[in-house]
């Protein structure tokens, strides 16, 4: 029988669990926007750049999450620049960064041979390697990102729904896009220790994709993504611990299972096939329209 209480007696598991909660919340929140902006690959691109950054850190004997964060931020800004200046399409810019990160990582791994075990943990995630310093960084990055999303929630929703409308509403669209991509970089770096660089984009995409099967409102989708993301991460960590599996792989497989269940629930209960809502204004043919006058003098024929 599983002794979950006993599991939390281990300090390393407490740290990993807290880091997992942070990653789940952060990735779920950003993931909804990313999926709806049809920019699912951005997480992949930034994660691979971070992998290059980690390799740099390991070679230079610098704390790898710092170098990963720096390279992720530089790559993020380059993606925005290449896209906005119309030098290349957005997905091409992401592809370029993706390749650059992986190439840097591969070259440095061959140069520095001795850190292959560490690198494997960064690639696929590991419960054992979340240090107190990692946890501090992860909590800090999560707080920054969640506060930004909480404060500018409506602006981000409008930008995601209709960028032109956001521009006309006075939302500084370019600044917000850069800020959002920076948040994605923070989320990726914060999650690398748990799910690994190769699988972090799945943590961004799967909770959002699952939540979209269940909810008809944006707020509902965000809340569902939080719940489903947390469930996937917690269940994945427990499975990883008890069956000695790669943490990232276990979390992502459970996330994909959750997605399958959500799709089945949607199909079964026909959540996405509701009848057209009735129209009442013209339901009884032509009719006189009355509007209330602003001076409160009652209704007014127009």
């Amino acid at each position: 029988m599983l002794d979950i209480g006993g599991l939390f007696a281990y300090e390393f598991f407490q740290r990993a669990f807290l880091a997992g909660i942070c990653s789940a919340l952060l990735c779920a929140a950003l993931g909804v926007f990313i999926v709806l902006k049809r920019a699912s690959l951005i997480g992949e691109g930034i994660a691979h750049l971070s992998f290059g950054g980690i390799a740099i850190g390991l070679v230079l004997a610098v704390y790898p999450l710092y170098t990963a964060l720096i390279l992720a931020l530089v790559g993020t800004l380059l993606i925005s620049l290449l896209n906005r200046s119309k030098i290349v399409y957005s997905e091409t810019a992401i592809g370029l960064m993706f390749s650059a990160g992986l190439a840097i990582g591969a070259v440095l791994a061959s140069v520095g041979g001795g850190f292959s075990v560490d690198l494997f943990a960064y690639l696929f995630g590991s419960l054992l390697t979340v240090s107190p310093q990692d946890l501090q960084i992860i909590v800090l990055l999560t707080l920054i990102a969640l506060i930004f999303i909480g404060v500018f929630y409506k602006e981000l929703v409008l930008m995601t729904f209709d960028e032109r409308s956001a521009h006309l509403s006075g939302v500084p669209v370019v600044a917000f896009e850069v800020a959002f991509n920076v948040l994605v970089a923070l989320a990726v770096v914060a999650s690398i220790k748990i799910v690994g660089a190769l699988l972090v984009s799945a943590l961004l995409i799967t909770p959002a994709a699952s939540a979209m099967q269940l909810s008809g409102s944006f707020k509902g989708t965000m809340l569902s993504a939080f719940v489903l993301g947390l469930f996937s991460v917690m269940a994945g960590m427990l499975v990883s611990f008890y069956f000695d599996l790669a943490t990232g792989g276990a979390i992502v497989l459970i996330g994909l299972l959750v997605f399958g269940v959500c799709v089945a629930v949607r199909k079964l209960f026909k959540l996405g096939k509701r009848e057209l809502a009735p129209d009442t204004i013209c339901a009884h043919g032509m009719q006189e329209t009355r509007f209330e006058a602003k001076d409160g003098s009652g209704e007014k024929d127009v």
Partner: protein
């Protein structure tokens, strides 16, 4: 029916388009066009496809650069204009949004409250009341909590009109906003425009292919086909010459209804008959 704004004291320039030329991909789309919109004016914009109607609205909104000339909104050059909370806009293809986007009618309408001065601030009681008022005005009360993709095309269009109205704009730009609405909803919408104009002095620039709708609702008519022909609308106005200049000689205009009263006993449309004599 009166076409005049009625109070000359209210005449203040809301939109000034002065000798504006717009070039897109080396093609002149608007050639030295000029038009004014005063407070309370309803400017109807018609013209053939590709004639520059949407480009004119985009230029007025500052969404595309102009090659020469000047555009002022509320007296401020568009390049320096920041008060976009005074402007409501319904885009031509507004209802062609992502069909799986998870949002309710109320959520989308409330997004219309956003403006530069309120960045990062939650909607207050007053904004929430405006959202509910706009939902009622556009007859969306019974679907306020439904997912937007559950609605018909006409209902979707009304969401965007409600979103534009919720910020209580002084200027409303409508790019074929009644396209996809049935006759009853078009009448409802025209009544609403009349109400907004009379009660709030709101100014409107509306691109529309329904000429009878334009002539009955607007007090100024602009026909755009790279150049802009412009006239105040008065009872008995026959815009045939202007329209023929813009559309070409191969069109015949057949008026179906009593132009003096805008009553349409049988059909309230003006037909543009292509290939007529």
């Amino acid at each position: 029916m009166s076409y005049s704004v009625g109070n000359e004291a209210l005449k203040e320039k809301v939109v000034e388009v002065i000798d504006v030329t717009v070039r897109i991909n080396n093609l002149i789309v608007l050639d030295k066009v000029s038009v004014d919109v005063d407070r309370g004016d309803v400017l109807g914009i018609v013209g053939p496809n590709g004639g520059g109607k949407t480009t004119l609205l985009n230029a007025v909104l500052g969404l595309i650069p102009i090659e020469s000339g000047q555009i002022r909104l509320f007296g401020t050059d568009i390049r320096r204009f920041k008060d976009f909370h005074k402007v409501g806009y319904v885009a031509q293809n507004a209802i062609q949004f992502d069909p799986i986007f998870p949002a309710t009618v109320r959520e989308i309408v409330s997004l219309g409250c956003l403006n530069r001065a309120r960045l990062g601030r939650r909607l207050g009681k007053e904004q929430n009341e405006e959202v509910e008022k706009a939902i009622d005005l556009m007859g969306l009360r019974n679907v306020a909590d439904r997912k937007i993709s559950d609605l018909s095309g006409g209902q979707k269009q009304r969401i965007f009109i409600a979103k534009a109205l919720v910020r209580k704009p002084k200027l409303l730009l409508l790019d074929e906003a009644t396209a996809g609405l049935d006759q009853c909803m078009q009448d409802h919408f025209h009544n609403l425009l009349r109400f907004l104009k009379s009660e709030y002095g709101i100014s409107v620039m509306t691109v529309n292919h329904d000429l009878s709708g334009v002539i009955c609702q607007a007090n100024k008519l602009a026909v755009v086909n790279r150049q802009l022909h412009y006239t105040p609308i008065t009872p008995g106005l026959d815009p045939s010459k202007m329209l023929q200049d813009a559309y070409g000689e191969h069109f015949t205009f057949i008026f179906h209804h009593d132009h003096q009263t805008c009553q349409a006993p049988e059909a309230s449309t003006i037909t543009i008959k292509e290939g007529g004599s």
